[in-house]
């Protein structure tokens, strides 16, 4: 698939701190690209860089096959929709009137409003003032605004932030339907790996401004290899013995794990422990969670 977003060595620094550091993004056409990372990793800044809201210190950005610069920025962005951080709205106006303003600026006929309101299921609330909307409704209105003009590319920054579980599910289903129903490519950022697992076809993981993983979700899951939980009568001693025997093991949350479930390694580990007088009580297979994958990739424990 031809990439819709490509960045090369994209860098943004504030003072001496690189918030985005040599980022090489490649978002395939028709994909839902989950842009993942803990809070403060540089996701929002990257999206703002893509939209030209923040100027990069170095690097280049290609959107929809064209290299973006100050002259063509608005022309390229006219084929994109975006929802950045919190929803943007005029509280004193109704949802319909808010969308009218976007139609005027995007030069889109107002008949489009009914179409996008139907997509986000907000026809019933269109005449209510937006300041009276719940956060979920504001978020859906923001999404409706992004969909005006049927853009080929959607950039959504944490669109489920602050929503209740039902709202999250609704937005998730909506995003999932966009590539097939409207041929859109969606880049959606989140700090929740589990959310991406249910939505994305491709994943990019950013940490401290650097892209540490980028591929399809299937490839990410390949990192989710098996590990073995080892229960002994003395885990601390067992760990020392395994390390001495150069068998890859670790202790997490007070539990002892063998990093590989390879047969020969398991046989070797059990034999070594038995020979050293450590009693092996239990051996059980465990799948790595996405949090574990992140830990594996970054070497850091984060709350995802």
């Amino acid at each position: 698939m031809k990439p819709v977003i490509t960045t090369e060595a994209l860098t943004k620094q504030y003072g001496s701190k690189a918030v985005v550091n040599c980022l090489d993004l490649s978002v395939p056409a028709g994909s839902i690209y989950g842009f993942l990372g803990p809070n403060g990793a540089g996701k929002s800044t990257t999206i703002k860089l893509l939209l030209g809201l923040v100027k990069p210190n170095s690097g280049s950005i290609k959107l929809l096959g064209r290299e973006i610069n100050e002259k063509n920025r608005l022309s390229i962005l006219s084929q994109t929709g975006s929802l950045i951080e919190s929803p943007a709205y005029y509280g004193h106006l109704s949802g319909f009137e808010n969308l009218q303003i976007i139609c005027t600026l995007k030069n889109v006929p107002e008949t489009e409003i009914y179409r996008v309101l139907k997509i986000v299921r907000m026809e019933g609330q269109k005449d209510k003032k937006v300041r009276e909307y719940s956060l979920g409704m504001k978020q859906r209105l923001g999404l409706a605004a992004a969909l005006l003009g049927n853009p080929g590319l959607l950039l959504l920054d944490e669109p489920t932030n602050g929503l209740d579980p039902a709202g999250i599910q609704e937005i998730r289903e909506l995003i999932c339907s966009l590539p097939n129903r409207y041929g859109m490519t969606v880049l959606v950022s989140s700090h929740l790996l589990s959310e991406m697992d249910q939505m994305a076809t491709h994943v990019g993981i950013i940490d401290k401004g650097q892209l540490i993983f980028q591929d399809s979700l299937a490839v990410l899951h390949e990192h989710s290899r098996l590990q073995l939980l080892l229960k002994t009568d003395n885990d601390d001693r067992a760990l020392q013995i395994l390390k001495r025997s150069e068998i890859s093991a670790e202790q997490k949350g007070g539990k002892l794990y063998l990093r590989s479930a390879e047969d020969s390694l398991v046989i070797k580990a059990v034999s070594v422990l038995a020979a050293s007088g450590v009693g092996v009580l239990r051996l059980s297979e465990q799948q790595m969670s996405l949090e574990d994958i992140f830990l594996h990739l970054t070497g850091r424990q984060v709350s995802l």
Binding site: L51, L53, K55, L74, T80, Y89, Y90, L93, L105
Partner: protein
Amino acid sequence: MKSLFIRQLYAERQKGRKKHLSLLPLCFLLFQVLWALWQLTHAAPEELETGYLLLFHHLPLMNTILLPMLAAVIASRLCDMEIKGDTLKLLYTMQKPAQLFHCKFLMGLKYLFYFTMGQGLLILGAGKICRFTDPLKWTMLAEHMAVTFTVSAVLLAIQQTLSLLSASQLLPLAAGLVGCFLGLFSLFFPTPIARLFIWGYYAAFPAASTDWERDSKIVRYFEVPFPMTGFLLFLGTVFIIYLLCKTLTVRKEV
């Protein structure tokens, strides 16, 4: 098909719905009408003989007190909706920041224009109702209105910049209030120092001045020539200040 700039201006109009912004110049004007009524009903008959000159002398002082606040409130009302609704990051994907600045400024100018025209009508109406005997010089009226509008416009640009750069509208409104006082106090400063305070420029190009006779205690109003060169220099400064304000706003990342 409307051009991009016209569409952006139209969008500003759409945003202003239900804000009732036209009431702002009307309220300030109403206050001036009441003040003019009080002033003129208490004026001596010989003062009414130079009634237009009296107004051309007093109204700039009144404008110095009121209009910095009007500019601050208009700018705040126009920009607050963007700050409160966090809309700049969305708008800047559809329009250039500089164009948003120009459109907002033009919208604000519209209300200042209403006020200036209203003040012109106030002068004409006062002349008819209070039967001023001196003839109205249309050039004086035009000069007075040009000064009122231009000084208000530059204050609007400053206030708009503050309003777009501030997370809360308290600071820009406080700046407007401080501007009122600075403008008023600057009238008592030596001229070179007074010229440093843009808020006091309403009275910097007076169409009329006064002469007070100590013995008879009579105030006499007389026409003074309009300082056209000074005004043209001021227009140049206004343009530079506007560009600076625009640059400051555009440079801010959202």
